[in-house]
Symmetry: C2
Subunit: 290 residues, 2 copies
């Protein structure tokens, strides 16, 4: 495989999703980017991207390129830092992904990390969808539930997310907080994520135990769900720290604890890089001193 520069171009296209954005990031004209992609595809004899009027979507093959090129990009950046006498300073982008529930806990840690490493840019992707580490979409993923069995993933335990069933004060005033003897499910209304495939145990509990007619509000967006709880539509699962910040009241329907073990997941190809090692250490240290 010659043409490393073309691979680098393809990498940026895959990252941004459009030729134009990639061209701007690379500091070249967008026609150059198109021609690089065309040349690379011609050389390989296969399509790396699905041409779309709104941008370029990576094919399976294109995603493979993305992963390899991201590892290379990181190594090149690291190399440059070292060569420039800058010692082992970190630079470049770090992509982290997690569920929305833990974001208010993660963000301050990331802020401290940024302060310690001024040359890194942090991209924190909040999404319900599982990012595919094997395609280089993220350096570090914070995942809940059982970790996938992909042997290319390096998994280590992070901390336990403290979920709880919360509601607004107005809701509790009307429907009770469930603490009174035999707090029944039938007395309550629920707010739940609309995505039925989510593996999180508390959502599974709702789907299994709550009659559908009592799920009065659902959405695919976590922030919207919290807002629904705040508005008093029903009670729903919120992370404890976040619930306290928002002044929500806990509703205790069963003496069940909703701790969700979180894992830090990285792809093996990226796991050894100084950047990933640094952010992992930072995250784990921050979790220890809690």
């Amino acid at each position: 495989m010659k043409h490393w520069d073309e691979v680098r171009t393809a990498y940026h296209v895959a990252r941004f999703g459009t030729v134009s954005a990639a061209a701007e990031a690379l500091g070249v004209h967008h026609s150059t980017v198109i021609r690089h992609i065309d040349a690379l595809e011609a050389h390989l004899g296969l399509k790396l991207f699905q041409r779309h009027a709104r941008g370029y979507t990576p094919t399976e093959a294109g995603s493979e390129v993305l992963r390899v090129a991201q590892a290379t990009e990181d190594q090149m950046n690291q190399l440059e830092s070292r060569l420039r006498g800058g010692g082992d300073e970190l630079k470049g982008e770090i992509v982290i992904t997690s569920l929305q529930e833990v974001s208010h806990f993660i963000t301050p840690i990331l802020a401290k990390f940024r302060a310690a490493h001024p040359d890194v840019q942090i991209r924190y992707m909040i999404t319900e969808r599982l990012f595919r580490l094997e395609f280089g979409e993220a350096h570090v993923a914070i995942r809940a539930g059982e970790a996938g069995q992909d042997p290319d993933n390096v998994i280590q335990p992070f901390f336990q997310m403290q979920m709880g069933l919360f509601a607004s004060q107005t809701y509790v005033d009307r429907y009770g907080d469930g603490i009174d003897p035999d707090g029944l499910l039938s007395d309550h209304l629920f707010v739940c994520n609309a995505d039925e495939a989510l593996p999180a145990p508390h959502y599974m509990w709702i789907r299994e135990n709550v009659p559908p007619e009592q799920i009065v509000f659902s959405s695919t967006d976590g922030q919207t769900l919290i807002q629904a709880v705040q508005e008093g539509i029903g009670c729903g699962f919120v992370e404890r720290g976040q619930a306290q910040d928002l002044g929500l009241v806990e509703v205790t329907l069963q003496n069940q604890d909703w701790r969700v073990p979180l894992s830090l997941v990285t792809h093996v190809d990226l796991h050894r890089t100084p950047k990933v090692q640094a952010i992992l250490k930072f995250l784990k240290d921050a979790c220890k001193q809690m």
Copy 2:
């Protein structure tokens, strides 16, 4: 760091040691190579190579580039194989280094590996000098004695090399094989490596126990030493299997076994690559079934 292609060029220069050889390997004119190096150095603001009339010698910085680029080259090759629908076939070069003593054992294994993976080229470097894995000079090193403490190296035990003190039949006819009671050191002549810094225990034994005047022949080249033993100049340490092939006779001066533990050493950056994993598995399997 832009200019991945220039890094690739520098990589080949560092590998071959000359601009001309790199140019031929890359399929470009040597002036192009020179200009790539010049541009890269200008961009980084430091010298990657020491210009010499006989070639380019990598500086410390140049060696760093070599290591990173080798990891990248391997990943690119692997990527191309996968993309071309070739599944996970291995291709490209694998560099292995070891002492001369184990070569006759390693070579058949490498031959089988080659047969199983037709697209790989094997470069087997026999050298007394320790190759510096951290500079990407080799994928796998087979080392004797205590492994270095470099945290960037992944070390795993390989097998025990069976050394023995051997001599030619003509030598034994004249000086005895040492098996008779109280075979004395003073009755024998020795052949020994001229390099005094070698850590191998049998060489250390010679240096500590044999009076210098009885070391009648020394050389820095292992093959030459064996030849000297074959010629009956003296007795010297030879690997048992090799000694048998050559029809040498064992000389037993002390009831000491000269087993030398060997280790497989790889650099962390390369250790996870399919190529290195494949060759390591092959070597370890071959060692198990002995």
